[in-house]
Symmetry: C2
């Protein structure tokens, strides 16, 4: 759960050269609230970093506090170590919302929401800021867990790198709606439409080592993703 404050305000997304949506620009959104919404709705982002001369893209958990994105990972991870030096990164969160069936193979598509953030990550070293960041990350992944569970100890904190990425240079692209078939294909006897795709949660599965006397708490029972 993000600590984002009001999402209906904020500066519009800045169209810098690399955050300008060039392809299918009608799918671009410039409202900062839409950036927040796409980020807040996800649990896994994909962090890109250059190692040597090649890109590496790895799934990464995250959390948002206002215009700050928190990322964390093991201090031993090469990508995190590289990002911590202030090298340029790209962080992308994508939601698949539907498979778009068209009357032509070419116009098959997907409905989706995607946020792309460009920037240079910063390694957080201040103890209080680090603890705040870990709280944001934990609460994004598992709302209510930070105060309900044991806080990180010194050894755990030492093993974890915390990075921030400012939401300064970002773009949002969203596709919704039916297929965009050519006029000439509209009379074709082929079914066209959208098969919606969504993410749902199942029944909580207690840890085998858990006492049966401990019930599933509301923070888990009421969790949606």
């Amino acid at each position: 759960m993000s600590q984002g404050g009001p999402v209906s305000t904020g500066t519009p997304l800045s169209p810098t050269p690399r955050s300008t949506v060039r392809r299918l620009g009608d799918r671009a959104r410039t409202d900062r609230a839409e950036l927040y919404a796409v980020l807040d709705a996800g649990l896994v982002g994909h962090l890109g970093i250059v190692l040597g001369d090649a890109p590496v893209v790895l799934p990464t958990g995250y959390g948002r506090d206002g215009d700050t994105l928190y990322l964390h990972g093991s201090t031993g991870a090469a990508t995190l170590r590289a990002a911590a030096t202030g090298a340029p990164v790209c962080f992308t969160v994508t939601h698949l919302d539907g498979v778009v069936y068209a009357r032509s193979a070419f116009h098959h598509s997907m409905n989706y929401r995607c946020a792309v953030v460009h920037g240079n990550a910063r390694l957080v070293t201040d103890s209080a800021e680090r603890l705040h960041g870990f709280e944001v990350l934990t609460e994004h992944l598992a709302p209510g867990s930070w105060s309900a569970t044991r806080q990180p100890d010194r050894k755990e904190l030492a093993a974890t790198a915390l990075l921030t990425l400012d939401l300064t240079e970002a773009s949002v692209k969203i596709r919704t709606g039916p297929p965009g078939d050519d006029e000439a294909d509209l009379a074709s006897p082929v079914w066209a439409g959208v098969l919606p795709v969504r993410t749902v949660v199942g029944e909580p599965e207690p840890c085998p080592l858990l006492s049966e006397e401990i019930p599933v708490p509301d923070r888990v029972l009421s969790r949606q993703v």
Copy 2:
């Protein structure tokens, strides 16, 4: 739907320096069938490419034929154009399978399956291979659609770049199961376990321009993701 042939055979995944799982190596899988399974289960991957000195990570559709991954995109997309020059790329597919609730904040985690492919993309120029690649891509996104819908015409083909990426250098990482809490926390009165997460399809939504006489075909009705 991938044209992958038997998935229980094949050479093991090669541990090159960049495809070696360094963190939490017990989550690494080396069976090629597991790579195929993770790729085949997804619809959206994240393609990383270096533009200038910065990484760009964009969601990308794909399809698999044996050990060849097909990617496509507009000939106008900067990332696709860069990949088409043979620059190094990284292509990552991740499935979120569950939120792992632990007795400590630190051991909160996610269950997931992730495939990471490193390599240099190749621009396909041969007409027959291009048509085959587009068929693989269409059938992966929407099984049955290639033969049921209008094939791409010359203009559509000209607007689309097709790339291949060999599944030569790849790694698979999978986390399953309950939280890995510290021994000392096991007696804590805090609920621990997994909240499963999965992707499901909803009711097909016909295109508003579709004749009501055209029923939803089996290829859509029976589609799972």
